[in-house]
């Protein structure tokens, strides 16, 4: 019995589902308004941007080589600000949105160049761009939010399609499905795992390690660009500080989701579940009128607990 429970618990998806049930139970006890399907579906709205950059972060970490992307928050801020500027000079919101996603991709590819191609340690390379992008966003706007988007643009983050928040149905779910297919069904997806597990072996089997990692950082940027659009629509303004601290949350959901920080192990389903749990906690606390700052502490404890548990399982399995 003990052994069977252990095997079940070491399955990350099962572990997260269990955690999810526990969170829902606790939250329902704290707030009577929490346990309501409609409410829960609406809540997913809060996690849209986090889901996107969390997936990006997971991919970068999976690619190994101490991969990490600290600049995701700043990329959201900067591409959001550029979006605001484009709308400001009269470009149509939706066209500007598409361009913004590409700009996110360019920002990400700059990380790819410094980290994957030139060989900077990811922690330092993306720390540098985190500073640089974040400061640029502030410099461009002088710290003042840009606004003036058309009313219809609000629909993206505040509207619903078939009872499901627009950004979840039209952006997050499709992106997730595409990435999942990429990871499980394509050569590129399999090569990410191989690069993450054993870089040298990957090199010998003809995989261009640098190219794979470059693409991963670029994808992370593209996803941040999408996140920027969602945040802009959400606030109906481009705030230069909107992404502050989001990099930490992105890393937290990736690690909580079971992505091994050393790369090569984990899957995106775990990340999505982790986003779901984190979002539940955040909005549950809000419903219960508990200061959101305690989210940070709870997130910290969950993060430490999840990784520590992970290490125990890894050790036992060996």
């Amino acid at each position: 019995m003990g052994k069977r429970l252990f095997i079940l618990l070491s399955n990350r998806v099962f572990f997260l589902l269990l955690l999810f049930v526990i969170v829902v139970l606790i939250m329902s006890l704290i707030s009577p308004y929490f346990f309501d399907l409609n409410n829960m579906i609406t809540m997913t709205r809060f996690g849209a941007a986090l889901a996107l950059i969390g997936l990006g972060q997971s991919l970068v970490i999976l690619g190994g080589g101490a991969g990490i992307d600290l600049s995701v928050g700043s990329m959201i801020s900067l591409s959001g600000v550029i979006f605001g500027l484009m709308v400001g000079v009269g470009i149509n919101d939706w066209i500007a949105a598409v361009i913004t996603i590409f700009i996110g991709g360019i920002l990400g590819s700059l990380n790819g160049i410094t980290v994957a191609l030139l060989g900077l340690p990811p922690l330092i390379g993306t720390l540098g761009t985190m500073y640089a992008y974040g400061a640029l966003a502030l410099v461009i706007t002088k710290g003042v939010p840009l606004s003036g988007f058309s009313e219809s643009f609000s629909f993206l983050a505040n509207g619903k399609v078939l009872g499901i928040p627009t950004q979840i149905l039209l952006i997050v779910i499709p992106v997730f499905v595409i990435l999942l297919i990429m990871m499980t069904k394509t050569n590129f997806g399999r090569s990410i795992y191989l690069v993450g597990v054993n870089e040298v072996a990957a090199q010998f089997s003809g995989i261009q390690v640098k190219r794979v990692r470059f693409i991963l950082y670029t994808i992370s940027g593209l996803l941040a660009g999408m996140g920027a659009i969602i945040m802009s629509s959400w606030f109906m303004a481009s705030r230069p500080d909107v992404g502050n601290g989001m990099e930490m949350r992105a890393i937290t959901v990736a690690v909580l989701g079971g992505i091994n920080i050393f790369g090569g192990v984990g899957n995106l389903v775990g990340t999505m579940l982790a986003v779901f749990i984190v979002t539940m906690i955040a909005s549950g606390l809000q419903l219960a009128n508990i200061n959101t700052i305690w989210q940070l502490a709870i997130l910290g404890f969950i993060l430490l607990g999840a990784v520590a548990l992970n290490q125990v399982f890894v050790k036992k399995q060996i």
């Binding site: 410094t114 900077l120 540098g128 502030l138 910290g300 430490l304 290490q311």
Partner: protein, 335 residues
């Protein structure tokens, strides 16, 4: 004679990387003094030092942990928590020496928690300290309850304001602390173990060094330095705001890396770190003197980090290539 020789051999020569940082620092000073006449005044230089004393002290500890191949993101929040304790004790008019003692002990305690998470629970340092950083940051909000601590007594003001024999206290303070830790890292067994473990934890373990213990010592020392910096912080500002120390971890990591400590561990020195701290502090000051909006500050620092590490890698690649060429030549000769 042999002992003397041995000691001489023991002192690591400043690496090319450190010399590079120092040259960078001197160039920076020359450029700023040409551009701005206000730069090279005694008052301005003293201000630069005064404002970066806490960063400089924390960076010593960051260097040790990073030489070990670790990292600590929680230093900013840890400093905040200790600073609030210090503020409360100052308000209660407790003996300053006791306050200092409690501050350092609290710092060590936080450092030990990080150390335990890294060595016992085997959580990678970046994740462990990210977690504690989040928890401590929430604690700061809880402790302050949304209000700032202001108008605190200036018992610790002399750390940054005072003079001794005409020399500003920050100069003395930094001189002494950097000297002590230079000695510690270069001449003591534990200090040498830090480099050894950073180079290869596996090899050092096999040769009988307790690498976990070394890691704990480094985190505890970093904690004590963070506690001490909290005293300096409170002395300098006489207040604790809600965003206390939010930039500290990143600045300390930047200073350490610009100063030549390798992110992969095993390489680095406090001398390089001091040069890195001064480089960043002077850059920030120069940006203000030149009238550039301070919003640019972070962009400049960010670029500097990237450039300095790129240079590091470039130099590293070249010296590696040279070594390989030398080896192959030797092989040719012997065959």
């Amino acid at each position: 004679m042999s002992i003397k020789n041995n000691i001489k051999r023991y002192i690591p020569k400043p690496s090319r990387r450190e010399i590079f940082t120092i040259i960078l620092l001197i160039t920076e000073i020359i450029i700023f003094s040409i551009i701005s006449p206000n730069f090279i005044t005694f008052n301005n230089l003293e201000t630069v030092l005064r404002n970066s004393t806490d960063l400089a002290v924390v960076s010593i500890g960051m260097t040790m942990v990073m030489v070990l191949g670790g990292i600590d993101i929680s230093v900013g929040s840890a400093l905040g928590v200790v600073a609030i304790f210090v503020g409360w004790m100052l308000q209660a008019q407790i003996n300053p020496f006791l306050i200092g003692f409690v501050a350092i002990i609290t710092g060590v305690f936080i450092g030990l928690i990080n150390g335990i998470l890294v060595t016992r629970a085997r959580i990678p340092a970046i994740i462990a300290t990210l977690g504690t950083s989040n928890i401590l940051r929430a604690l700061i909000f809880g402790m302050l309850g949304g209000r700032w601590l202001t108008g605190l007594p200036r018992d610790f003001g002399l750390f940054t304001k005072g003079h001794l024999l005409g020399i500003p206290i920050p100069v003395i303070l930094l001189g002494i602390s950097y000297f002590i830790f230079w000695i510690f890292l270069t001449f003591t067994t534990t200090g040498r173990h830090i480099y050894a473990v950073g180079n290869s934890a596996e090899a050092t373990k096999l040769s009988g060094v307790n690498s976990d213990k070394t890691m704990m010592v480094a985190f505890a020392l970093l904690g004590s330095l963070v506690g001490f910096s909290a005293l300096i912080y409170v002395g300098r500002l006489a207040s604790v705001e809600i965003t206390v120390g939010i930039d500290l971890p990143i600045s300390a990591i930047a200073a350490t890396v610009i100063g030549g400590t390798s992110v992969k561990g095993g390489k680095g020195s406090v001398i390089g770190t001091l040069a890195g701290v001064l480089f960043i502090a002077i850059m920030k000051n120069g940006i203000v003197l030149l009238g550039i909006p301070s919003l640019w500050e972070r962009a400049v620092v960010g670029l500097l980090i990237v450039i300095s590490v790129m240079v590091d890698i470039f130099i590293g690649n070249r010296s590696e290539r040279k070594q390989r060429e030398l080896l192959s030549k030797q092989r040719l000769q012997t065959s």
